[in-house]
């Protein structure tokens, strides 16, 4: 097989053009063989562009904040609790929720590939898949968090969960103060994708 190991020497645009041609050739031959339905590819892409994303995870968190019974279910059996909201499926088959507390902050990584809970967060961001995060999250989590603009209190412990098996982790951030009057939808609006991975916390926007 012709190898593109010389990709390294192409500039950025040529590199992407090279991959575009390579992927197009692959799709073309597989379609010709009747192995691939291009419309199935479109459906997959549309699903992750418009239907499955971190809003799912934010809703899980909001419900856990608003409903203590659900929060306990989530702690005891996250797969079932999350499934009860309709968020099931690929890369979310076996879920665990890990709760931040004043004593412990949780951070999720996959050092070996980029395992990520697609069903509640959608597709992983580039930084999550990149060597810098995968290498340093387990060894230098405070340094990594500072690169996200997050400085934790000195005495707060950090628990790093390396996703080495088929269990997927969802961080449940602490509920910020002064949010008692908010609805679940409004609470979900506060929860960023990064907070669900552990590279951010949830803050209430300053009143203007």
């Amino acid at each position: 097989m012709h190898d593109h190991d010389d990709d390294h020497y192409h500039d950025h645009d040529n590199h992407f053009s090279d991959m575009q041609a390579r992927v197009k050739a692959l799709e073309t031959v597989l379609t010709a063989k009747g192995l691939i339905d291009p419309k199935a590819i479109d459906a997959i892409v549309e699903t992750y562009e418009t239907k499955i994303g971190p809003r799912n995870g934010a809703r899980v968190v909001a419900k856990a904040w608003a409903d203590l019974e659900f929060a306990q279910w989530l702690k005891d059996d996250a797969t079932a609790a999350i499934g009860s909201l309709g968020y099931t499926g690929r890369q979310g088959e076996h879920m665990r929720a890990v709760f931040n507390t004043p004593e412990t902050h949780n951070l999720v990584v996959c050092t070996l590939c980029s395992c990520y809970p697609w069903s509640v967060l959608g597709l992983p961001p580039v930084w999550y898949k990149a060597p810098a995060y995968r290498s340093r999250a387990v060894m230098d989590p405070r340094g990594v968090l500072s690169e996200f603009g997050l400085t934790l209190p000195k005495g707060q412990a950090i628990r790093v969960w390396d996703s080495t098996a088929e269990l997927r982790y969802l961080v449940i951030p602490e509920r910020p103060a002064n949010t008692d009057g908010l609805s679940e939808e409004q609470l979900a609006d506060l929860v960023s994708r990064d907070a669900l991975i552990g590279t951010a916390i949830v803050r209430v926007p300053e009143a203007v």
Partner: protein, 219 residues
């Protein structure tokens, strides 16, 4: 295997660079790469562990300079050729020259929602009782297989504590190589940061992995 994928604790990759308002896809080819990988997985010819092993087997210099989706495409090409769906020449040229192997299933557009919603559960009944329980002190195996494993290098030969028994799951080290699913109990094992990184480790750091039973022995 001690491949380029096993990145935990490696130095030299610089700062994490989160992109503001990162798009879900950076290029059209990435969309096709995602769809192709999932569509071909639906053939039923290989399992997720074999596909991960195909990615980690990419030569280090190539792996470390490639983007995620490029890694996926390179691995996919290997799998397609290995399982007889396309020849190297066909993959290169995009021109079909022979029918190739028939798949068990072809993913059509109307099947996508159901297939994604079902996913691929990996839990299986175990044939033995779990050996360890919460609170047990265990030592991880110090081994360096050239075959697939999900025990990262940084976590080999370490003493940790079982936090929980998570259920029994397909054993990837065997499954990747066609040696059977051979389900084993999986345990969350927690290591103090100092156990893994030495006295200079960040205070208050703990790291956990999910480890199959055969990775562990009583400490």
């Amino acid at each position: 295997m001690n491949g380029p994928h096993d990145l935990g604790g490696q130095h030299g990759f610089g700062a994490v660079a989160p992109e503001k308002n990162e798009p879900i896809f950076h290029a059209e080819w990435e969309k096709r790469a995602l769809g192709l990988t999932l569509s071909c997985g639906a053939f039923g010819a290989w399992n997720i562990d074999e596909s991960r092993h195909a990615r980690e087997n990419i030569p280090p210099a190539t792996y470390l300079s490639a983007s995620y989706y490029e890694i996926w495409i390179r691995a996919l090409e290997t799998l397609l050729e290995r399982h007889g769906f396309a020849t190297a020449e066909e993959i290169d040229s995009g021109v079909m020259t022979e029918p190739g192997a028939p798949p068990k299933r072809v993913l059509k557009a109307d099947m996508v929602a159901g297939v994604l919603a079902k996913g691929g559960p990996c839990d299986r009944p175990a044939s033995t009782a779990a050996i360890f329980g919460p609170g047990d002190r265990v030592r991880t195996h110090n081994f360096n297989p050239e075959t697939h494993t999900r025990l990262p290098r940084y976590a080999r030969g370490r003493v940790g504590t079982i936090e929980a028994v998570r259920g029994s799951f397909v054993f990837p080290d065997d499954n990747a190589h066609g040696w059977g699913e051979n389900p084993q109990w999986v345990y969350t094992v927690v290591f103090d940061g100092r156990e893994v990184w030495g006295e200079g480790a960040e205070p208050g750091l703990t790291v956990s992995i999910d480890a199959w039973e055969s990775y562990l022995e009583r400490a």
